[in-house]
Amino acid sequence: MSTALVNPVVNPVEPFLRNDRMPHIWCPGCGIGTTVNCFARALIESKIDLKTLAIVSGIGCTGRVAGYVKLDSFHTTHGRAIPFATGLKLANPKLSVVVYSGDGDLSAIGGNHLIHAARRNIDLKVICVNNLIYAMTGGQTAPTTPGHATTSTSPYGTFEPAFNLPHLVEASGAVYVARWTTFHVKQLARSISEAFKKKGFSFIEVISPCPTLYQRRNKLGDGLEAMKYYKEKSKTKHGAPTNEVGLTMTGEIIVGKFVDRDRPDYSTLLKNQMHETLGSKYVDYDDEQGLLCGDGGCVEDSCH
């Protein structure tokens, strides 16, 4: 005897996806999609208002995330997701702004913007998917590529010291710094949720496999091999000193929540300063729905 039932449950990630753009372009075994699942879970868990959530990405494989999620999403220029996101947030402080981009985009061409936004403590949640390579363009060396790896622009092996991203952003002033791998799905979702509750510059690095280029060129197996490596060699050390969490090609991966501190964010500092020097003369546009304002000469009538 069988009873026809409509499947009562939908994949939790499904409502967040632009179904008319599936399937995505990421390779078999690429971890970016995994991070999107964690992102979706975090959105559900933190009950964040999706109407006021905006996602900004740069160029690269991870940069494509913006195009696949059903949110106000901006696919900007290479390295400049953070300054775009800064403008978005300052114009409408009620937005929750996520920057979702890759290691090359954020720390090479975007490096200057990364450190300044952290310094200013702009209220952004940055998810940096670090696959240790420039994947989209065919596997070139990134500032995060570990030593002696083979890449298309280091055919004889890299020799440059790599960035330790948690250390870099902590030193620049970020208030929340965590690192997980795509193996640590639950912890990553939790970290993203925590970042949503945090005011200030939050940075979550996610080590993720690039099977087609990084893994293959360095004979490290496929995506699954990478995930097994993450599982085996990761060590959770909450609060670890970030100068000690550098990565190597096959060595230990320190993961965890490294930094969780409180510093006034950029907007708070700005308002405090203005109130102190201008007193009642200061016009706090935040009180007037950000810069979205029918009176502000921007929009003819309040269309929203």
Partner: protein
């Protein structure tokens, strides 16, 4: 709609062009600027930094022009009217994002207070060397609108027009000042707010289900939505379809890029703005723009004093270039004399548009100061011969 009085500094002022430009932006409704210091433009944002906290808005000095040129665009998508200000070297850095604004149809204003170039050049001295760059500086096919003020008063008035055009056509507008106009101090009359027309954002009234971020009808300009309104739209610099989704095919490329071009070209006639005087029976017509037009005015008067029949055409909207007007004048004059503070940029456009029907005589100047009126006069005399 009328300007928001909170941003209008009504009255008679003694201001330099940089300061007047800032007031123009505020009067136009700009409430966000992201900048980076560069001589001779910095005063525009210095004044904005001082004014905007009491008007109601935000200024942020970014870490470089690469950031400044896109932070303002984030602010536009967050709902603001926004601009940035720079000079040659910074203008070069901003080119990628000017193209991004053109591609994503982000209404905004880029002010370039031109100085001697190339490279670091003459930071404190004028030129008009960025005119071609304003039109072609970013990669690919796109259109911009460029305006050239020739006085602090015009720096006020035309900045408002720049913002209005940006909103009307949803593109980046280049406001091409020069160091001379930027740093000269003159009387600037700012009228009451209810005498200033500002163009509001072309915001969609469609429902979330019906809205297409890049769908257009007759005027080829799509309706805009902002982040945070529930539209959940996607915006990208990749070649995209009406939904804003990447569609990287030759067919979509053809469709999108020709629309971006046509949305300006079909309106070129009504976009055109120039000052024309005495061209009816002129043997020679002096075509100039910006600060050079003021020196040219002197030369024209001197030439007329010598009995020469000289007309004047001052470009105010330099891009799109007024092809039709030049074509019309070329048919009834002997020559165009084009003085400019560069070694020949807009003169090429004049020559092209004239189509061989009249000569084009360039009066070049590498920059650093303005022309001697005598040099322009000599060219007029030669041309009239």
């Amino acid at each position: 709609m009328k300007a928001d009085p909170r941003g209008v500094l009504t009255g008679t002022h003694f201001l330099d062009g940089d300061h007047a430009c800032c007031e123009g932006a505020l009067a136009a409704g700009a409430r966000f600027a992201s900048g980076y210091p560069i001589t001779p433009s910095t005063e525009v944002v210095e004044r904005f930094a001082q004014r905007v906290p009491v008007v109601g808005g935000c200024f942020i000095q970014m870490e470089d022009e690469l950031a400044a040129s896109i932070t303002l665009q984030g602010a536009v998508w967050g709902g603001a009217k926004a601009f940035t200000v720079t000079s040659g070297p910074g203008f070069s850095l901003m080119m990628e994002h000017i193209g991004y604004a053109a591609m994503t149809e982000t209404p905004c204003v880029f002010v370039d207070v031109q100085r001697g170039g190339p490279s670091t050049g003459l930071p404190t001295l004028p030129s008009q060397g960025d005119m071609m760059q304003a039109r072609w500086g970013s990669h690919g096919d796109y259109e911009i609108i460029a305006l050239c003020p020739n006085s602090p008063q015009e720096c006020f008035d035309l900045t408002i027009k720049a913002f209005n055009l940006a909103e009307e056509f949803r593109l980046p507008v280049m406001f091409m000042m020069d160091e001379c106009v930027g740093h000269m101090t003159e009387k600037v009359v700012i009228p009451p707010a209810d005498q200033i027309e500002v163009t509001p954002r072309k915001h969609t009234h469609k429902s979330v289900e019906d809205y297409l971020p890049y769908g257009t009808n007759g005027d080829l300009v799509p309706e805009m939505a902002h982040a945070g309104e529930g539209y959940k739209f996607h915006m990208t610099g990749l070649t995209h379809d009406e939904r804003g989704y990447p569609n990287m095919t030759p067919k979509m490329q053809q469709k999108l890029v020709t629309r971006l071009q046509n949305k300006v070209r079909i309106a070129a006639e009504r976009l055109t703005m120039f000052e024309e005087e005495g061209t009816e029976n002129a043997d020679v017509i002096v075509v100039s723009y910006g600060i050079t037009s003021r020196v040219a005015q002197r030369a024209i008067e001197m030439a007329r004093g010598q009995g020469l029949k000289v007309g004047k055409l001052r470009l105010i909207v330099a891009w799109p270039f007024p092809d039709a007007k030049i074509r019309e004048l070329a048919a009834r004059t002997k020559a165009f004399v084009v003085p400019e503070l560069n070694l020949g940029q807009m003169s090429r456009e004049v020559e092209r548009a004239a189509g061989g029907k009249a000569k084009t005589i360039l009066v070049p100047h590498a920059g650093g100061t303005v022309h001697n009126p005598e040099d322009i006069l000599t060219a007029i005399q030669e041309a009239a011969r």
